[in-house]
Subunit: 340 residues, 4 copies
Amino acid sequence: MIIVLKPNTTPAEMEHVLDRIRELGLKPHLSQGEHRTIIGVIGDENKLQAEPLEAIAGVEQVLPIMKPFKLASREFSKQDTIVTVGRVKIGGGAMAMIAGPCAVEGAEILDEIAGHVKKAGANILRGGAFKPRTSPYSFQGMGEEGLKILRDVGRKYGMPTVTEVMDPRQVELVARYADMFQIGARNMQNFDLLKEVGQAKKPVLLKRGMSATVKDLLMSAEYVLAEGNPNVILCERGVRSFEDSTRNMLDMSAVPNVKGQSHLPIIVDPSHATGRPDLIPSMACASIAAGADGVHVEVHSCPEKALSDGPQALLPPRYAELMLQMKKLAEVLGKTISKT
Amino acid sequence: MIIVLKPNTTPAEMEHVLDRIRELGLKPHLSQGEHRTIIGVIGDENKLQAEPLEAIAGVEQVLPIMKPFKLASREFSKQDTIVTVGRVKIGGGAMAMIAGPCAVEGAEILDEIAGHVKKAGANILRGGAFKPRTSPYSFQGMGEEGLKILRDVGRKYGMPTVTEVMDPRQVELVARYADMFQIGARNMQNFDLLKEVGQAKKPVLLKRGMSATVKDLLMSAEYVLAEGNPNVILCERGVRSFEDSTRNMLDMSAVPNVKGQSHLPIIVDPSHATGRPDLIPSMACASIAAGADGVHVEVHSCPEKALSDGPQALLPPRYAELMLQMKKLAEVLGKTISKT
Amino acid sequence: MIIVLKPNTTPAEMEHVLDRIRELGLKPHLSQGEHRTIIGVIGDENKLQAEPLEAIAGVEQVLPIMKPFKLASREFSKQDTIVTVGRVKIGGGAMAMIAGPCAVEGAEILDEIAGHVKKAGANILRGGAFKPRTSPYSFQGMGEEGLKILRDVGRKYGMPTVTEVMDPRQVELVARYADMFQIGARNMQNFDLLKEVGQAKKPVLLKRGMSATVKDLLMSAEYVLAEGNPNVILCERGVRSFEDSTRNMLDMSAVPNVKGQSHLPIIVDPSHATGRPDLIPSMACASIAAGADGVHVEVHSCPEKALSDGPQALLPPRYAELMLQMKKLAEVLGKTISKT
Amino acid sequence: MIIVLKPNTTPAEMEHVLDRIRELGLKPHLSQGEHRTIIGVIGDENKLQAEPLEAIAGVEQVLPIMKPFKLASREFSKQDTIVTVGRVKIGGGAMAMIAGPCAVEGAEILDEIAGHVKKAGANILRGGAFKPRTSPYSFQGMGEEGLKILRDVGRKYGMPTVTEVMDPRQVELVARYADMFQIGARNMQNFDLLKEVGQAKKPVLLKRGMSATVKDLLMSAEYVLAEGNPNVILCERGVRSFEDSTRNMLDMSAVPNVKGQSHLPIIVDPSHATGRPDLIPSMACASIAAGADGVHVEVHSCPEKALSDGPQALLPPRYAELMLQMKKLAEVLGKTISKT
């Protein structure tokens, strides 16, 4: 931690700052420059975390030099974490190919879609049973009935499943049916929910919030890890921006950015990021070239009749074609698509 | 709803679009231009809400022309809604002056702060017992103990209270102690929580999410209203932006923007919006001139010892001074500060 | 300047960093902590400005502690700068009320508008002769003919004039006719243009770029000041954001933010910031309460026939009404509207 | 164009709107719905471009349905444009590999860098002689001397050259020495400069502005095309965002987004987009997988002594390694790297 004092700080003010630091059991280290005095604080920076040092008279700036997350940090583990969902490995060169409809809408249609994506090479089946919808008047998901359908179809095709959980009260129910929790972008900082899935011990697919920095995302992962659940997979799915021709802005650099700072796997969801089927395939390919540990794509056999986010779904033949391209890229880059 | 067809749509594709519209019991109305064909859809636009029309072959764009919220809309009520918290009226010319520390940290310190803000003219006491913190290692709030202290201090000074609720499971508990729920920015789209406070019937202070548009904010209010709770107060508290010298960017125009579209009261929180005590007073004054129905300010007698967000708190004397200025502005603008 | 070294920096790497600092005639000051080593650099920080220290092996972060602008800084002048345009004073409690159409479209219509705004109390007349338009097919302004009309109408009503200059080659021409240059948002970092108006010695109204931080704005002012022209007035006119119901997002906190860091006057342009006549009046009032040194409003007697940005113009009666409100606020806040 | 009327528009107001449309030689087409009346306007939408229809009483919304650019549009040319710089072809499957230092700093160092990048496989040499710097006190470039050095070194290695032009007055000078103009992000909407390079007939590398939408970028290209210069190459180089760990946010989806709407080639500059050498290689690879027509990378043999943007430059060996990876990807994707 570095503390920069204002140009006209009095000696008494400076002493007061030094006292506060010593009270916390830390050692201040003074550098007096021509224009500014700076104080380096030596010791456990975390003790200062909750301290509102900037509120002290005479303090101009407080500059943390340590990262605020620990268990999620690359320093904590040099080796890439590999998360296992069913028999699918994610991370360390193995990729998750998650596909399926936005929402579970019925057994027959899910069975049809699952058959297609499995054949194309997808290894995890997705489908929402609880849907976060902007409007209270939109379809809110099939609930437990949807969870059952997802589990049954997943079993039939030998694919582990992932589905969103939105409420801490649903965690137990969802855990009974699905192989991986999804925490949606809107709930990335729903801290009670994060704690609850942290205690549930099943893998968690944590999506980046629409205005979350990479650091915020890693801090939210830290909430899950701190509860004892090490199986966190991060997901870049676009952030809010001024660009109005895409649903969100896909921050592709988040992939290597996360990998430099953390040992956790990160996948990309080009469907929610762009909201446009014409952009999804090239963004899926780019994600693999960027080093992502997987790609999450919405697929629907009849997007125009989908009950949720139909327009952004790929048709099964387009997905199969994309998968061929992704496999070629994976091969060149020495990555493998995990078996189910 | 207006549907724009692509330039080279076939007659069969066009027929298919028209059929889909008629299937929903709506009436399509065709306009064929030189370069594009457009279809106006007449009837209840809400029927089309969940319809992924953009996924239909031949459709280029779907343009809704109705606002997606109803109960929150100005069309629903020409008259400004006045929400009553304790005996404090908010809206229709009456202003809430909410003040207090970020977090409840103990009975003594809260009593001291409450005494100061009450004397200065604040009419609602705030203080968090459950705190959403970016880091799992930061102070998470005093919980029920904090709620009790807040209630007791509020009673002593005759001030109704507001405190954050983060988890649907806490709603009942919080309702037992506080006069108004606060839904924080991070939970603006925590839809299960919105439904829960919608059923609880106590007033709700709904803060704008960090990347929420004004429309998103009104849609979230609609979730509460749709459950039968009409007592919603909106709060502008800044959004994420590229500007790095303030904590968030205060979108002052949200005040008249909301008032044009909705009958609900809206207040401003310059403390979280700017994160800087040197900017808070002028932003508080500007909020009143912009037409806000109240101002929410964090006040702490010792910001440097506060357990949460200390640096952004005003000292009691600065708050008292600000209140004098705000009263003068209120007077000129024909507004009143509600009595407790 | 503070330099933070990576955790595993070798002694040789550290020595190399120290050598580079000494080569620049500066004095490094070492603090070795538990987890990181930091180097405080003492001496003229500007020497390090152009130095890519972050590229040196072993360096993790470089943290400047001095502001990069000088002549624009509050440290350079404790006293507020007062800029004089014609006889109108701006800054130090005196406010500019700039009004007029977006573009000069003809003598008759400008005369009509000028008569209205002068009567309402405006003290500076605006109107564009060179228009930066997104489309090459839109009206690009009347050029010199427009400049003449603006000058003549300004003289008739005794109002100094301001008009945009977009090209360094136009500076001399514009200087011949107008009393103040306007540098538009799109040209805030057109550095050759800034240098040119810096040499021209007439007052400069410098608008904030659409993605410029407050620091960027002050750095651009520094370009003008560094050429010897001290007459710079800053203008907040909204920045790009994800909010799609307003043209830009008005960053009201830029007003006190600039005033804390700089002695230069700052005004607000709610017309371009919001693009919506229904929001302009309340944002104009809020600007005054925020401490702005003036307000810039587009006024047109027939917005629907305006050749540029008609929809965001106020009608003259609405402007007159707004001016009454602004005068009342100015009075309460101890500000004056400068005489022409 | 579609015009939506307000719910309570009077018949007289509606007639007035219809009259305005007819006055422009266009045909209005009325659809009266339950809640709203909409008017489809048939005929040349461009006639309405400059018309402030939204300012007419009774009008709620004006929705354009045609794209505002023409010469840049995919409708104008189904076939990909191939731009030739020296003998290097860009577009239609052929890729530009632009490399070199941020600024030309001297003959010797440029020669050294050029030797390295040429050997690695780069086909165009870059280097700035006029530098847009945020601070007036930073190195502003070597000017004509730098242009000469760039030309000479380019000739020696048989590489065409690209360099930035910032001022319309420099266009002729720059054209004398360089093979392609670069218009920097800060000047993307410097319309006089765009017109000037449009008349100069040499290829133009047009970088996306920091807050420009894809549509804005294409409108700026339209300025160059409209002057008769068809040789425009677009460049994605990141936009401003709230993410503070990268210099800008690389909008990778701009690549397929542009390609869907326009026939012009588009390349990616991961150096300016991320500002971080640790992220550049994976973003360069991702760009190729996304379908970019080239990659622009800053390379310097001694980033720590570079006079401009040193920290974001790759070292020559890292660039050579990256080029091997990019060649493998290009091969898999059926792209070629153009010969010099």
